[in-house]
């Protein structure tokens, strides 16, 4: 899974969000390191919907413009959980090897 995909799924993990909300949240989650552009975000959202990892939660019209909220599907939650567990396991091994004394205690 690419980092952008991981961050988008993470942004949707707690609650449904619209496009602009996801952009802001991704920037916040990555502490400003990743700044998605709208074209990239919607290409990813379209792909994630096609892969059935996210779905539309609800829609509303704000100032005559459509605003669509997305949420994770059960498959999306499972995929994100598996990816996060994998990353956590890898990170634990890396930290243990960098600091063997701390890992032994």
């Amino acid at each position: 899974m690419q980092e952008a995909t991981f961050l988008i799924l993470t942004a949707l993990a707690a609650r449904a969000q619209h496009g602009y909300g996801i952009l802001s949240d991704v920037q916040q989650i990555s502490r400003g390191r990743v700044r998605l552009r709208p074209g990239t975000l919607y290409t990813a959202l379209d792909r994630l919907r096609a892969d059935e990892l996210i779905e539309v939660d609800h829609e509303e019209v704000v100032e005559t413009r459509l605003r669509r909220y997305y949420r994770l599907t059960p498959a999306g939650s499972a995929r994100l959980a598996a990816e996060a567990a994998q990353l956590q396991a890898n990170a634990a091994v890396a930290l243990a090897r960098l600091n063997p004394a701390r890992g032994a205690t």
Binding site: M1, Q2, E3, F6, G19, Y20, L23, R37, P38, G39, T40, L41, Y42, T43, L45, D46, R47, A50, D51, V62, E63, T64, R65, L66, R67, R68, L87, N90
Partner: protein
């Protein structure tokens, strides 16, 4: 947000890079986010935003995204092409013979060409992937020899060297990367076969016209119109975009050949009659090469895993 402003018009123009399906689904939503993301006083789309929209839009049109459906689309298109491509080439050759045989005084060579192409059709129909690949290599060698050494193949080989090598490049990609012709048999429907006569007619009309009209700007124009017509027909017959791209790439060498040789444009830089120039060959077959590379990459692209 500033509805109907120059900024919005600029974004709408950029959104045209995306396919209609995407615009219908996400166009207004994406436009809202783009306008909400702009800084105060901005009157036109920024360079990076523009590049992002163009890159993602064109990538989506070419099915370069990494979605499961896009990968499946290319894989299925290649499987269908592995059956349809050789039939297209055989029909083109036979049509060419019917029209050109009187000026081709080497019937034995012409018949050999037909025999090899027919064998490839039989092999792919029988689902014999590896044998078909070997026959492809033989046919390419024959075409190459025919273009340079065998007298009397004339226009037939000129047509076949362009269309033939183009089909074989794409066919090789299809046989290597797709689930293969057996899978293709399950995917191909009457629409795939119905578009073939139009594709053959397009190539044949071009060759006949370019041979009879002095300076074949008219022939090139006709060919381009016919290619668009074939594409529209494929769309009406519900053929996938990936398959239609593969079909269009088949025509590329004869369009390029006509544009460079008959219009004289690049003739100053390249002598395409001398097939020993690698640069000339690369340009001549850039269309099918690029299309085969895209199809291969999408069809066999592994799921990437990046450590964050």
């Amino acid at each position: 947000m500033t509805g109907g402003t120059g900024l919005e018009r600029g974004y709408r123009r950029l959104l045209a890079c995306y396919p209609r399906r995407f615009r219908d689904e996400h166009g207004e939503e994406l436009l809202g986010v783009l306008l909400a993301s702009t800084s105060d006083g901005q009157h036109r789309p920024g360079l990076l935003e523009s590049a992002d929209l163009v890159w993602n839009g064109l990538g989506m049109r070419l099915h370069l995204d990494n979605s499961r459906s896009a990968r499946q689309g290319w894989s299925d298109a290649l499987a269908a092409y592995s059956l349809v491509g050789p039939v297209l080439l055989l029909l083109t050759t036979i049509t060419g013979i019917v029209l050109e045989l009187p000026i081709n005084p080497n019937p034995a060579a012409v018949m050999s060409l037909v025999a090899i192409e027919a064998v490839i059709v039989v092999l792919v129909m029988a689902g014999r992937r590896k044998t078909a690949l070997a026959a492809l290599a033989l046919s390419v060698a024959f075409l190459w020899l025919g273009a340079n050494r065998i007298p009397g193949l004339g226009l037939l080989v000129r047509l076949n060297l362009g269309a033939g090598l183009s089909v074989y490049l794409l066919e090789a990609a299809a046989l290597i990367a797709s689930p293969g012709p057996r899978h293709g048999r399950r995917l191909v429907h009457w629409g795939h076969w119905a578009v073939l006569p139009a594709a053959v007619a397009a190539q044949t009309c071009f060759v006949v016209m370019s041979d009879r009209v002095q300076g074949s700007l008219a022939a090139l124009g006709l060919l381009v119109i016919l290619i668009f017509a074939v594409n529209r027909l494929g769309q009406a017959l519900r053929l996938s975009r990936s398959f239609r791209l593969l079909l269009a790439a088949t025509f590329y060498p004869i369009v390029f050949w006509s544009a460079t040789l008959d219009l004289g444009g690049l003739r100053l830089l390249l002598d395409l009659n001398d097939l020993s120039y690698p640069s000339a060959l690369a340009l001549w077959f850039a269309g099918p090469l690029l299309c085969a590379a895209v199809a291969l990459s999408a069809a066999i692209r592994p799921r990437r895993h990046r450590i964050i």
